[in-house]
Symmetry: D2
Subunit: 320 residues, 4 copies
């Protein structure tokens, strides 16, 4: 799909270099998208889309009039039809592309957006907006020559910011506190009780957790559940507005729950299995954690890319 409406015979002609292309299309197309959940008031998102088809080696270019009509029709339909699931939206565009491009065997649609949740501070209950990065993708493949048999894989995911506190620096500070208290004549038992009740200092920072799940399943994967899993896998979730009592809760929670990047990814992996028991074993899950280390200029990073089945197997094997 070049961006020009050239004459059909030019497009159908053989290209100078007879090589097929994996993806041809447009990127960074911004569109308003209206989504809706169970009869609730619809909300409007700004979607940024990448839209591709493949191109065989014997075609110079994609059929542009058809192609742009396809994209536009589907995106307009999306804009008018209330939908909750952004991955279905990607899937509809991908299937529409294959219908219109008889020569394409593969269509791919990616979308990213920002989702807004209302969230209340833990003590004061002051409400604030929480902006979360969300994204979806659909890949449609034509399985037969005539092209009526199409299979689709859909991906959905989110990136959420929270706070992570370092277990290592905390263990150093706890050791220091222990020694000082013993030096000051406080007895061992009191020292241990105190250190259980009050978590000691450590460096902490913004952490970003990312989960995406790619599956051929038709059942919807809840984006809210993905967002919850990410938030609950860091040392604490964070808020827009915090009063004194709220700030105490967040800082204490983060320090009672120190986490390496490794810990965050492993916790997310475990929770994905718990919260989504029905996803097919061959679905692919990508889980990442990036900590914007406050004591360094670089970031700490951990990642697991695997199938749902693999994680289940590892958890089973290793729990014995």
């Amino acid at each position: 799909m070049n961006t020009c409406p050239i004459l059909p015979d030019v497009q159908a002609s053989k290209p100078a270099v007879p090589i097929s292309l994996t993806r041809v299309g447009v990127t960074d197309v911004k569109k308003l998208v209206r989504v809706q959940k169970d009869g609730k008031k619809p909300i409007v998102l700004t979607g940024i889309f990448d839209i591709f088809v493949d191109l065989p080696s014997d075609r110079k270019g994609a059929n542009l009039s058809r192609n742009f009509e396809a994209i536009d029709e589907t995106l307009n339909k999306i804009f008018e039809l209330p939908t909750y699931h952004i991955e279905d939206l990607c899937s509809d565009v991908a299937e529409n592309l294959l219908e219109r491009h008889e020569y394409a065997k593969h269509a791919e649609v990616r979308m990213k957006s920002e989702y807004v949740l209302k969230k209340k501070a833990p003590a004061s209950k002051i409400a604030g907006h929480q902006f979360v990065d969300i994204f979806a993708e659909a890949v449609a493949e034509r399985n037969d020559v005539n092209g009526t048999d199409i299979s689709v894989k859909k991906m959905i995911g989110a990136e959420v910011t929270g706070i992570t506190a370092c277990p290592c620096a905390q263990s150093i500070m706890t050791e220091t506190a222990e020694k000082e208290l013993l030096n000051l004549g406080v007895d061992e038992k009191t020292v241990q009780l105190f250190l259980q009740r009050v978590p000691m200092a450590t460096h902490n920072q913004r952490g970003r957790g990312i989960i995406s799940i790619k599956t051929a399943d038709t059942k919807h994967i809840s984006l809210s559940t993905i967002i919850e899993i990410i938030e609950e896998s860091m040392s604490s979730n964070i808020f827009e507005v915090l009063k004194r009592a709220d700030e105490k809760i967040v800082v204490e929670k983060a320090h009672r729950n120190p986490k390496f990047v490794e810990d965050c990814v492993r916790t997310m992996a475990q929770k994905v299995i718990e919260k989504f028991p029905d996803i097919s074993d061959d679905s692919i899950v990508t889980i990442k954690q990036i900590n914007e280390e406050s004591i360094h200029k670089h970031n700490a990073f951990a990642e697991r890319v695997t199938t749902i089945g693999e994680i289940k197997e590892e958890l089973n094997n290793n729990s014995n």
Copy 2:
């Protein structure tokens, strides 16, 4: 590899969730890197590194004291040893990581940087700096239990900016010019001669071409050749300073050589085969072109991801 130097027994202990991790490490580590070519004066690049090892399911964390020593030693060695090949530099770090982390089976090092070429304007011969984005990667895999048998795959690539002129809008403008000249009474033959000599207007824009090649071959793949291939596959290369005579050459060249994103990718693919005849057939090549369309706010995009062998086969099959 968490970023904290915790006690060895803590790291070697079993994690709460016994799941292995694909990549654990640090990202966005900036380092000065000195590179040198055949006895020429060394140049200093700023490298931005991502450095990872995998982690088995029975280890809480990576051995940090060893780990940071490994990274630091290798990067310091890189800084002191003249090297031309940035992919070898990544490979050295990756192998060093595997040596020090007896539990890791996989190490991965990515580097991106900016490379500066001196380039002369086509007519005036005024010299200017051309900044090109370059990147490399190495993945080291341990093949046996004892860990002395390590295989490495290296990747190298570049992104270069040039100008692309749209063939479609040009064909429309050429048609318009043809009609006007015939209307004004100019004879058909003169019209055709004129249109062969003077290319008509079209929209044109900054285009970005990207090539990366990933291989297990030990022979070096020339970065300068990759940069040349990308430049020569767009409508024209571009320059820092252009005098009147230079500008005429660049604008004419671009308009005599209009290219869709599809054309740029196909030309790059063909030239990769021509210029690198010795790369193994199973090497993976990724070729992309992004045009920052001057008539749209979105970009046009084409991509081919495949093996060297596949491209050769397509070229052979389709040339018959």
Copy 3:
């Protein structure tokens, strides 16, 4: 305004270094903002806010409980109250801040967002979304000791992307075409007629025009008019979807209307005076044009920062 709800007596205490601060506050606060125009359906924007007050030299910190209540109350009100004018929204927050912070003499609120227009392609009339960057600012100053006399200056502006075609390269190409036609025996008069009817090639590229107007006037400055002025001052406006006939119109229009960055800024300045005849002479206008040169990796830039009165005077003086 530090971000912590510390004890009031701590905040009111003298700081260790008794120096006043120009701006204290929060940046990159994302909020949903509902705006509405003359009984039309309200639209929801994502606003990114920077919110500041000044701090006298004898106060350690800003009164945080009051401060966050102020911000939150105003922003919540904004979210619930339909408003069309984003600069009024900034102004309301700024005045609210001064009411709550008895020690502050200066409050400043900046907002940026994205505005979506429906726009039809020139020939096919296919509708597309046009995303435009918009921004506003309000500065509230307390004029008296008691603090009931507050004066406010508001700023509003937009950045719009279009296409600019270079007049210089076009004059070179026109000269070339002229010579070739004369060489081919076409008579001078026919050549001139042809060159009047068909614009010759040149390099063209994405251009970005920016206008902001800062005034103490209470009358609203139309954002749509600002957007129109910017679009009409480049070689051509651009569209999301273009069919063959549309593309011909855009490319021809851009080539009939070549513009340097200087020309774009001067045209915008003239149009601002024409379209906003009532803005006070002491209002400050900033006009910029950035061309993402397709023949270079760097950008071309022109800017005028002055008062409305100055532009009027220059236009009057120089037209004589």
Copy 4:
């Protein structure tokens, strides 16, 4: 300065809209710059330049051949001549521009770059690279009609990343620890001694401090001193590699030295006066602190923009 070498008579002609322009030029020009300090080995920086002149209302465009020669000559000279002071480099380009553009009264050159320091971890003394953002600017004004009297103002500055710990959340946690220890039967005096020796937890994060100084003074302002001031004004400086003993020092130091954004800016202001006693009172100083709050998604911000004389006066008046 448009980017095209059009015919001189075209440029010298009157523009369609007779309005003068504040800045015309090029932005994002990348150049290699070699700098040197007192006979030490020269280092090479990548400078990103913005270069402008003003344009009178009666000139259509800037004289391009002259203009590009001016830029190029000066930048090439910079590349060849060892220089330590990047603000002098900007100043040389600005003066050269005024010499060549007889119609311009104002020339402005901005440069940003990255500077690398070798820095040792506090305990292990492991050396690492510290990358710091640096920037400079020069504005040259022609004071007379003939243009031989030129005055120049130069600006120099840096942005450094460190760690800031929140004093407010720490006071909450200290209160909590105090209560728990008293509850556990530890006597008041021991509690106070303990809390003096071991700093309690708080949220902490990456902070970015920025100082720039603009002056007509000819004496050089040390960039290293600016970088030191910024580092010492946060809770702690940070490092590339930290071993266990280093990490203890950094985390303890940050927690013994909690700082609001307000505190960081005030400390920087005081240190600028102490370390640069000779800068003229009318020099303008801009001091900013941005904390990437780990408990919020937004940033905390404080800024002071004023003259050196004003800060001195405030410090004198308020110390009485």
